[in-house]
Symmetry: C2
Amino acid sequence: MPRLSSRTQAIVGSPIRRIATLLDEARRKGDIISFGGGAPSLPPPQEVVDYLADFLRKAPQKTVAYGATRGMIELRELIAEDLKKYWNVSYDPKEEIMIVNGGTEGIYLALGAILEPGDEVVLIDPTYVGYAEPVRLLGGRVRYVPVKVEEDYQPNIEDVKKVVSPLTKAFVLLSPDNPTGRIVTEEFVRDLVKLAREYDFWIIFDAVYKHISYGRPTPWVDAFPGARERTITINSFSKEASIPGFRLGYVTGPAEVIESMEKIKQYVSLAPDTPGQIAMIKFYESGIKERYLNEIVIPTYRKRRDLMYKLIKEYLPEARTTLPEGAFYFFVDMRRYLEAMGRDDEEFSNRLLYRKSVVVIPGKYFGEMGLGHVRMTFVSEPEERIEEGMKRISAYISSYL
Amino acid sequence: MPRLSSRTQAIVGSPIRRIATLLDEARRKGDIISFGGGAPSLPPPQEVVDYLADFLRKAPQKTVAYGATRGMIELRELIAEDLKKYWNVSYDPKEEIMIVNGGTEGIYLALGAILEPGDEVVLIDPTYVGYAEPVRLLGGRVRYVPVKVEEDYQPNIEDVKKVVSPLTKAFVLLSPDNPTGRIVTEEFVRDLVKLAREYDFWIIFDAVYKHISYGRPTPWVDAFPGARERTITINSFSKEASIPGFRLGYVTGPAEVIESMEKIKQYVSLAPDTPGQIAMIKFYESGIKERYLNEIVIPTYRKRRDLMYKLIKEYLPEARTTLPEGAFYFFVDMRRYLEAMGRDDEEFSNRLLYRKSVVVIPGKYFGEMGLGHVRMTFVSEPEERIEEGMKRISAYISSYL
């Protein structure tokens, strides 16, 4: 076999994807309770399902035809209206909005459009596993800003200043956050934009959980003065419309960066999924989205979140965590238990799956600051099973102590 | 705005995608006849459409759920059976087959998995526009092997030897070919594999048109001794199942290269489209694929091909071309006309669209050897419109001469 590229030796496979595979296998064997992968457990809106099924039967060829690389203009126009409505920011649907094959492609294309070899990208630690590796794949370097449970995982601008330099090409901000559920403060965004202007770096604002919030909405980076010309915002339909299998999202940014991303996209995926786009056009019709989010998604997830919070306090009184303001996850500092058990977070998670058939994600996967933590999602299981899972975790720990 | 990456300045946007956009606009205005983009003009098999629509209604959440990065194992098992049946080559569905988001992603991931900066990739000239740019995006260099209409666009192994060197990392072979319709000879593949072993380079075999052949099937590179450990084969459902909008294909290769491609794919697109995979599981069921190809696709396209060939001889007697053995295209040497008209192929194509509302693709887009040629697809229009289009081209040329 001829040599492979060294580029893939520098990156690691996503541990969460590995767990998804393990989980698939484990599921066949027995009663697994998953607090693992953050996949929506609700079906998409019924109106959208019916519309797409009808469309497919009536116009099969049109449903599965090639589309433009930037996506359907009708959908981009609806997105512009929607962003205006929710965040009061105007984007030109032709020049400043582009449909992508999921938030993952959005991040990859955004980094591809801006990074030179050696450029630095600042990430918050802990953070989503899907930033550092594409930065490395594209020749960039990663710098980290630590956050702590004691400060509700809120980043401090002074810590950002410590790692920012003329080498900084971008800062990645995920809000609401995975794994911590944090929604960043207005003040932090204001200071970050100021710093970005001073050092002339990009802000990649990952807003894939934007509609999954239980109180105040996330600040919208582009709404801050001076942010527009240096912000690329990543959006996904996976969480807000519960259609992760369509791999569909969208990106907003300055026309020049959208143009660069489009060039790369032509050779990475050619175009986004057409049936998914047809479905999402319906999603924006006459209040479907609002009803779905306000009457189904948010109430369902909020109940589960509140229950899990209560149960963490009850069953894991020595653990420390913070009530997530958004997204799907609790990031739980388990160090007091783990030290007593003499296990690290990965050993704990592996044995918990093996012994009690409960899936949690080791905190170390999200960064050095995640050591001794686990991530538990409340999105995948209904309430009675959340309770059952928490009991099992507690019983497992008790068997040790 | 902070600086953009220089990587996108080195590549050009796909001219055919640009034409697709122009065409969309032109279509609204009038009666455009398209011999342009090679998008299938047939609906997918009815059984597949019905199955997917039912599946979506019955199990919406499952239809649009996240899947594994390599794709559904059931589908990969069916692909393995299918490849065994058609080409008598065995692939391990777990380790040697991976579902990708269309042939485009397959090519990008394959190049990403093997290329180091400065590595050379050998392409045939003319060729599909989607190879040179991703090679450059990934830091590689392109070398060309010219082919000519006089030799039915068949590559000569002696010409390949002239550009192959220790810097050669891969050779890209598309058969059946776009834009020429050429199916490569057994002898050429045998010699190419020998050369690949001698110089230790990869063969990227792009087989996206594998089922679109009007006589003999394309040789299958992996079937040649010594080829398996150095061949990555790109397949697409877009052409054979007429579902380009689902962006779905698959790749076969040695386990190690599939693993590297999977790593990259986690950060490029996470996973392939789930609904499309469900549809393709049905496609392989009980003769659906065979009936669709043998009774609908091939007879329809063959009739159009034969008609267009006859009409080229009749209306463009001074043009030179070759009857395509596969794929969707005629690559037509128009130099005798263009010289008399004092136009190059791009001017000709632009003015033909403007004056006569007929789309053809300038040959220069496919490489230097394509200068003075045009590509005309017979896949998009029914027979009476192929005739009408050819009449318009002839009338346009006559108005000059």
